[in-house]
Amino acid sequence: MNKKTILVIDDDAIVLKSCKRILESEDYSVTLCPSATQGIDILKSSAFSLIIIDILMPCCNGLNLSEKIEKEYPGTKFLIISGYMEPKPFSEIIIEKKMNFLPKPFTPDELLKAVKFAIIKNPESTGKNNKTSKGDIDE
């Protein structure tokens, strides 16, 4: 069985570092990315089992980014993390789209639980061809 690959996009180094530390302890292959633009570049060459995205980042917000990626690579799985659910529309979008969400700060157990759940859960696929993501094919 292949290692599950996870991409973490967050502008805060301590969060990236924390995620890497926790997830690698459970044998996940973790790629870290400090900005959205770099994240998109990485996605061009590699596919991931899960992408963890922070909402509030200096360049853009994580929700828009996840939408953009979803469009490009349908079936991609996400875990949204945030220290703060405001402004209001974010919380509503998350609830409405039934996105996987984990509030910061989290303990290692909480993150692992959320990641497992997000990977197992079927992606919200709207496309008729329920084919696996590009990442899966590459694997």
Partner: protein, 644 residues
């Protein structure tokens, strides 16, 4: 509305004036008509009597002149010497003075020896004047009105007979008769016996013919009516009738000729000629309406043989009536104009303060409480004005109070908002490093090679970090737009369940909780779990503030809104007899992180979060407190619209 009052006032006054003017116009005109007619009748009656007097004076004048002439000396010589010329001279002198139409002398042998006209007296004529004939027999003076036949006149003077004949004019078919010419003649005749030395010598007689005569009627008109004219027409007319025939008159026909030969109306004829009454009334004479008076003329034998009549054309009075009516109309119109003017002025006077009040009301309703009433009127309007001023004053005070309240509220809200933003920002920034601390603390704790002391230290770090996590979470809850999950809920039930949850906690502290529920409170749409957390938080606060053995009373009721609107609201009052709150702390009570509790026992966010939740439900929380006596927190919640 204002215009309506003005219109109403003016219309009322106008209506009243028109009514009064109309009534006075009607009755005034009626009264004046009556007065004018009655005055006209009185006057015409008087004129008739004057005419009769003049008529009888003419008769008397003839009588006295003839009587005086009869007393003259020398009649014997004249008669015996058959000096006809001398008699004729005397007769013509007499005639010249009093204007006789005919006269003559009848000798005691029943012959007429002299006539004024000189007709048929070249020798003694056996034809004798009928009046003289009576005197010849009775030998006393006879004087009066007589009807003489044409033959009898012809005997005096054939020319007279022709002149006095009257051609009938058929003015009315009812009176159409076969006679085409009236030959009888109405005359005034006097015959006086002539004596000398007690010897009866004969009879001197003389008279005037009224047929076709103008002198009497015109004299009378001149005397009585002074030839007054109206619209070029003589106002008064005088007529002498022979029976029902006009024989002498100054009434004119349409062609402008004297209306001799026309007949009297049957109605008047019946009244005057047959019943012998005096008749005074309106009468249509030939062309015009007249006010006329008629009285019969009796002849020497006491028989009514003719009528004397005077008339005044009614149009003269009609004009007078018209003038009077016009004056009345002018007065009425003036009255109406005055009424309108008065109505306008009055309404202005009355409505000016009302207008002012309306304008001020408008300003007040727009929120401007500054207007003052310039002048306080007397009476009811004044009362209204003062009441209104009082109301404005009260409003002003309330407004000021409300302003202070809302300013306080605003400062509070701004404070909370800024604190909220700050908290949110801080929380976000703290959360990332907290993630790191938590991650690495827990990762360290996973290691198997830790000694007990190190493990204990790491657990302390984890616990402390979790506390920080809780505080940040609380802060976020406070600053976050709480997502409500509203549903129709029964507030009393929520409170009851909340009290049940914490009753044990209270009992441990020997504190009793009373709940006095108002059964009339309708269900309200709210987030029951959040609302429960508010009630719970406040009861816990009350328990914490109350010493053992104390009491907490929770009650609900419906009250008028404190916001100054007319709306009603639900009040939930949580009162304790605990330590109370110092006045300087009241302001800070709802500030985040403000707490009177020991460190670690409270985050200082409970009331701030509670207020946030209540405010999201459109309500507010107020506090009253007396240090040492207890505090009372009231949650004010607006009624749902369908319950208002």
């Amino acid at each position: 509305m204002n215009h309506n009052i003005r219109l109403y006032l003016i219309t009322s006054l106008l209506g009243l004036t028109i009514m009064v003017a109309g009534i006075s116009l009607f009755f005034g005109t009626y009264q004046i008509n009556k007065a004018v007619i009655s005055e006209a009748k009185n006057r015409i009656g008087f004129d008739l009597r004057t005419t009769i007097k003049i008529y009888s004076n003419i008769e008397k004048q003839i009588n006295s002149s003839l009587s005086l002439t009869a007393l003259d000396q020398g009649w014997g010589d004249c008669v015996n010497g058959y000096n006809v010329q001398h008699i004729k001279k005397r007769l013509s002198d007499l005639s010249e003075i009093i204007g006789l139409d005919f006269s003559g002398f009848v000798r005691n042998d029943s012959t007429t020896i002299c006539r004024q006209s000189g007709y048929n007296t070249t020798s003694p004529d056996p034809v004798i004047n009928p009046v003289a004939k009576i005197v010849l027999k009775k030998k006393v003076t006879i004087s009066g009105t007589f009807i003489l036949t044409q033959e009898e006149i012809r005997a005096e003077d054939p020319k007279l007979a022709d002149l006095s004949a009257i051609n009938l004019i058929n003015s009315s078919e009812n009176n159409q008769q076969n006679i085409k010419q009236e030959t009888s003649c109405l005359t005034i005749v006097t015959a006086v016996p002539v004596y000398e030395n007690n010897l009866f010598l004969g009879v001197i007689y003389g008279g005037i013919i009224l047929n076709n005569s103008t002198s009497i009627v015109d004299t009378v008109r001149e005397t009585v009516f002074q030839n007054e004219t109206f619209n070029g027409q003589n106002v008064g007319t005088v007529t002498i009738f022979l029976n029902n025939l006009r024989v002498s008159t100054n009434v004119l026909t349409k062609s402008g000729a004297r209306a001799v030969g026309t007949l009297l109306s049957q109605e008047v004829e019946k009244k005057v000629l047959i019943e012998g009454e005096t008749w005074i009334d309106r009468a249509f004479i030939l062309n015009d309406w007249n006010i006329s008076a008629y009285q019969g003329i009796e002849d020497y034998y006491g028989k009514t043989v003719g009528i004397l009549s005077v008339g005044v054309i009614e149009s003269k009075y009609a004009q007078f009536k018209k003038d009077t009516f016009f004056v009345f109309v002018v007065i009425s119109i003036a009255g109406i104009l005055i009424a309108v003017l008065l109505g306008f002025i009055l309404s202005r006077l009355v409505l000016k303060p009302v207008d002012e009040l309306i304008n001020i009301s408008k300003k007040v309703s727009e929120g401007d409480l500054s207007p003052k009433i310039k002048k306080i009127s007397k009476g009811e309007i004044g009362n209204l004005q003062s009441t209104f001023l009082n109301m404005i004053d009260t409003l002003r005070v309330r407004d000021l109070h409300q302003k202070e309240e809302s300013e306080k509220q605003l400062i509070m809200t701004q404070k909370q908002a800024s604190v909220g933003r700050l908290a949110a920002g801080v929380a976000h920034e703290i959360n990332n490093p907290l993630t790191g601390v938590l991650t690495f603390t827990y990762m360290l704790l996973r290691r198997d090679d830790l000694d007990e002391e190190m493990k204990s230290d790491l657990e302390t770090i984890a616990n402390a970090t979790n506390r920080v996590k809780d505080i940040v979470k609380g802060l976020l809850n406070f600053s976050r737009q709480v997502k409500l999950n509203p549903e129709p809920s029964d507030i009393n039930t929520i409170i009851k369940e909340t009290i049940e949850l914490i009753e044990n906690q209270a009992l441990i502290k020997r504190i009793r909780i009373n709940f006095d529920a108002d059964k009339n409170i309708p269900s309200k749409i709210l987030d029951s779990s959040q609302f429960q957390s508010v009630v719970m938080n406040m009861i816990i606060n009350a328990i914490d503030a109350t010493d053992p053995g104390g009491r907490i009373s929770v009650s609900t009721r419906i009250n008028l809104s404190t916001k100054g609107t007319k709306h009603k609201e639900i009040e939930i009052i949580i009162a304790d007899n605990g330590s109370g709150i110092a006045p300087e702390q009241l302001d800070k009570l709802f500030d985040p992180f403000f707490t009177t509790k020991e460190v670690g026992k409270g985050t200082g966010l409970g009331l701030a979060v509670s207020l946030g939740i209540v405010e999201h439900h459109g309500g507010t929380i107020s506090v009253e407190s007396q240090p040492g006596e207890g505090s009372s927190f009231t949650i004010h919640l607006p009624l749902d619209h369908n319950n208002e």
